[in-house]
């Protein structure tokens, strides 16, 4: 084990961490908002809303993220004139925004399915009870459906967040030098693939460990009412 080498490469790799976090954070946030919008739109049960959404979800869940990034970056790059006319070229010219777009659309597709499923699993009795109290549909959604559904969705949404953090490692193929891109650069200079990838892997591992712990804590806090109150029924005497 060459610790001097590790000490040398870790700071270099960490220089890519802000970009990794930025890509993951932005796409998870934007994707989350879009996913919730799509999941809610599907509750309206209008075929003309449902089918385009289902098509979008099938497309982005059914194709690899790598292919999506390639198509959005290099594919759309060939429609420069059209995009310039639409005034969108400024956005598609930058690898950063292309990567954000690909990651966001991908996580939107997965996220909307997670949220849709979670909302469907809200017991019908709860909704009927709310209506019996005279709540409007919006109020039922805000007070009953969403709180229960979001709590239900948390574990699987946590998986999706972790997948997105790892998905950012594909951004280096569109010239963005995040942690994995920097790792490949160091390997090309030193030819020490094992040490460098072990370090890069460890960075992702620590990052995802923090995310899982945070989400675990959140889940714990949100399900307080499902556990027996402290002091009760813990030890039958």
């Amino acid at each position: 084990m060459d610790f001097a080498f590790f000490a040398e490469i870790v700071p270099k790799l960490l220089a890519g961490l802000p970009l990794t976090l930025e890509l993951a954070g932005t796409s998870i946030l934007l994707g989350g908002i879009l996913a919730l919008t799509l999941a809610l739109a599907q509750r309206l049960r209008q075929p003309w809303i449902d089918w385009p959404i289902r098509g979008f979800v099938a497309l982005f869940r059914g194709t690899p993220l790598l292919v999506q990034i390639f198509l959005i970056y290099y594919g759309l790059g060939q429609f420069r004139l059209t995009l310039q006319e639409l005034g969108l070229w400024g956005l598609f010219r930058e690898p950063y925004w292309c990567a954000i777009l690909a990651l966001t659309l991908n996580t939107t597709a997965y996220g909307s399915e997670i949220l849709r499923g979670a909302m469907q699993s809200v017991p019908i009795g709860q909704i009927e009870a709310a209506q019996a109290f005279g709540m409007t549909r919006l109020m039922t959604l805000r007070r009953i459906v969403l709180p229960i559904a979001l709590r239900q969705a948390l574990p699987s949404y946590g998986n999706e967040i972790i997948l997105m953090v790892k998905g950012t490692s594909l951004a280096s193929i569109v010239t963005l030098m995040e942690v994995t891109g920097i790792a490949q650069g160091i390997i090309s200079q030193t030819y020490r693939a094992v040490e460098v990838f072990v370090c890069a892997g460890a960075i992702y591992l620590i990052l995802n460990f923090i995310i899982t712990r945070t989400l675990g804590r959140l889940e714990h806090n949100l399900s307080r009412h499902l556990r027996p109150a402290s002091g009760f029924a813990t030890s039958p005497t």
Binding site: Y74, G77, Q78, R80, R93, E94, P95, I173, T175, M177, G181, Q184, G185, I187, S188, Q189, Y191, A193
Partner: protein, 282 residues
């Protein structure tokens, strides 16, 4: 069912035997890896076969050495790691013989000397400089510095595309860091696409590869500009890479390259594929 483990064991043993045989003495069978994405040096045809100047040269060298060759393709940034762990025996992928690479692998003598340069839009400040056949040796510090200082203001602030893990990238980082924005690509085909799309203003690669790219109709507004650079970070020309312990193979390849240079095969292939002669001077 009982046959399966025996078959596995037999396969493992025969692979082991093949591996140990290739480590010593003159090999009968070798696998040569190329990148397959650096036309016209090496590229992949529409039906998935490797082709190009180096692929044809590799076949020619194998005939001379009387060995059976398999030519495969492998991503550029994985070539050296894959060679060292024994996935194949020889790299012929337009790879420059540099000191840094020589720390890890060995090279044959060069079979080509090919300068690197910029490609830019004809109507840009650097484009007005136009291409020249002038070769700047980076070892000759004064003229090299003069040439670089002449280019610098003409390209300041531009986005330059370059393939990652190459001597070309090292050159840009060493001499142009801070004055241009460097974008690293996995393959040169990808930076070509981005030049066409207008995402990068210039490319830096081997002049022969640039010339081949710019010959395509969508690049009619672009030109190779300024002198070509050799030596220094570009090392001692383009050679075939191989493991340090494969000395017998190195001797065979060197002899075959000697013959191919002497009888004009390298020149012939170079003119056919690259439209210019890259044969190393004696």
């Amino acid at each position: 069912m009982k046959l399966l483990p025996i078959a596995c064991l037999a396969a493992a043993l025969s692979i082991g035997a093949a591996l140990s045989a290739s480590a010593e003495d003159a090999p009968k069978k070798i696998t040569i890896a190329t990148e397959g994405a650096y036309a016209p040096w090496n590229f992949t045809t529409a039906d998935g076969k490797p082709d190009g100047m180096e692929v044809e040269l590799a076949r020619n060298l194998c005939e001379r050495m009387k060995v059976e060759c398999t030519i495969i393709t492998q991503d550029w940034d994985g070539l050296i790691p894959a060679l060292t762990v024994g996935k194949f025996d020889v790299i012929m992928a337009s790879m420059f013989i540099t000191d840094k690479r020589l720390e890890v692998i060995d090279f044959t003598q060069p079979y080509a000397i090919d300068p690197s340069g910029f490609a830019v839009a004809k109507d840009s400040p650097l484009g007005a400089l136009a291409g020249s056949s002038e070769k700047i040796k980076l070892e000759d510090e004064a003229p090299a510095k003069a040439a670089i200082d002449k280019i610098k203001p003409l390209i300041a602030g531009k986005v330059v595309g370059v393939q990652a893990a190459t001597s070309n990238l090292e050159f840009l980082k060493k001499y142009f860091d801070g004055s241009v924005e460097i974008r690293e690509y996995k393959t040169t085909e990808q930076h070509d696409l981005d030049l066409a799309a207008g995402r990068v203003d210039a490319l830096f690669a081997q002049q022969t590869a640039l010339a081949a790219t710019l010959a395509k109709p969508e690049f009619s507004g672009y030109t190779v500009a300024g002198p070509g650079f050799v030596g220094g970070v570009f090392g001692r020309g383009t050679g075939a890479g191989l493991r340090k312990q494969d000395t017998a193979l190195k001797a065979m390849l060197n002899k075959a390259i000697d013959e191919a240079i002497a009888d004009g095969t390298v020149k012939k292939l170079s003119l056919k594929w690259l439209k210019t002669d890259v044969t190393p001077p004696k």
